[in-house]
């Protein structure tokens, strides 16, 4: 109930300011632009969207997801409204969940607005729409993971810029960690065990299989637990800050 109230307030704050629109427009231009240019959407003749479209999304999220999440707690602490939230009869968890789902909803809207590309592949070819759905789920989960990280960082600081820079750094690391070209280079320098540890921290391991249309339980569990740990950390940081 109270998380729902907070969810509505956060969501309307995104859409009553230019933030959400700017992010959605940039996301749509980048994801479509990359699909049609580097993704060679037209010439490659692949209707699955795996390489042409979904492949690019973690790269976009690592820069844009923190821009959506950075204000969540940083702004609350800078303006002092956290003192209102903290003295309303609501639990920290309701606030965290309400805020997290509001930010996730902005991204869900952005992602749903990429529907023309699905219509296009269905018009041009005969794709596996189940695989495309799995790709969308994977893409959304990557985005939520980055949002959860940003939320954790924004609980630590009252400065949105610091939050943005730190979260982008973490997200970039997570994208690079499991990226093939990067791990190949790393493999020359480090032991296989170390490489494996690094890869398991990255998002590709889990995103790729979803992207190929495989809905594996272990990937869903990985995303869910990663997000949960970040939210748990947020709650811990917020209460330790007040102590």
């Amino acid at each position: 109930m109270s998380s729902c109230t907070i969810y509505k307030r956060e969501l309307s704050s995104y859409f009553s300011q230019p933030t959400a629109y700017a992010i959605i427009v940039i996301f749509l231009s980048l994801s479509m632009g990359l699909a049609f240019s580097f993704g060679k959407f037209m010439s490659i003749g692949d209707a699955s969207l795996e390489w042409t479209f979904f492949f690019w999304q973690p790269w976009i999220y690592m820069l844009l997801a923190p821009a959506v999440g950075m204000k969540l707690w940083a702004d609350e602490q800078r303006t002092g409204t956290i003192e209102l939230l903290g003295t309303f009869p609501v639990s920290t968890w309701s606030c965290i969940l309400g805020k997290f789902f509001a930010a996730a909803t902005v991204w869900l809207v952005a992602l749903l607005l990429t529907f023309p590309i699905v219509i296009t592949v269905n018009y041009l070819g005969n794709p596996d729409n189940g695989a495309i759905l799995a790709g969308y789920i994977g893409s959304f989960l990557v985005c939520c993971t980055f949002l959860a990280i940003t939320m954790l960082v924004s609980a630590c600081t009252r400065d949105q810029v610091v939050c943005l820079i730190v979260s982008v750094a973490i997200c970039v690391t997570m994208v690079l960690c499991g990226y093939d070209d990067f791990t190949r280079e790393l493999g020359k320098a480090a032991s296989p065990g170390a490489v494996e540890a690094v890869v398991s921290m990255g998002v590709w391991d889990h995103f790729s299989s979803l992207n190929q249309g495989l809905l594996r339980l272990q990937d869903l569990v990985w995303f869910a637990s990663f997000i949960f740990v970040c939210l748990l950390g947020t709650s811990a940081i917020l209460s330790s800050k007040r102590a």
Binding site: S13, G80, T87
Partner: protein
Amino acid sequence: MIEVETLTKQFGSKIAVNNLSFTVKKGEVLGFLGPNGAGKSTTMRMITGFIPPTSGDAKLCGISMVDRPAEAKTKIGYLPESAPLYNEMTVTGFLKFCASIRGLTGTAKNDAVERAIETCFLNSVALQSIDTLSKGYRHRTCLAQALLHDPEVLILDEPTDGLDPNQKFEVRQLIKRLGQTKAILFSTHILEEVEASCTRAVIVDRGVIVADGTPSELLAQSGTGSLTDLFRAVTSSDTEAAA
């Protein structure tokens, strides 16, 4: 209504509030005086459940803030020191949000918002965006938020700070009027306010109570008939405290 029992707060090695005890009954307006840094805000934050006390407890209508915070918080209306607000919302939008989070719905919510707007003279700015408000209106909007659920206990941290003389007068009148049916604790370092609206006052200095009584008792205690003299005699100035 408000029972503060040996409340203590320690920040690192610094004791901000030291073993503070006092009670405020229904129909009483307690002025909480003290120089800057005396621990007034910290005490209020503990009573409202924003920060946990190092030791001690505050009971609101008999409900312990330490043991049953969610329930105790429903009894309180709180105006934080800087009157924090969500700048992107309108006055009515903000008050509706606060009312929903207090569990009010439907007509009860609309009535509460309307009543608070009237009590705090916000009619002319009801549909204005908060970031365009002048300081006096911002303060009153935050005060309106504290009155929405008609709480039995009001805690106001420097409610007249930064207002012009007319607005100060109005807020004092409001406090006096509300004080007839509620228990009010308000902090200030403006001494004339004590005579204007308090039934009782305590003076705190460096986290301990150094004077306590009705305004006339305090005047008698001062010897010279001036509260300023008493205040200067029992509290230490910034420069001394640092030394």
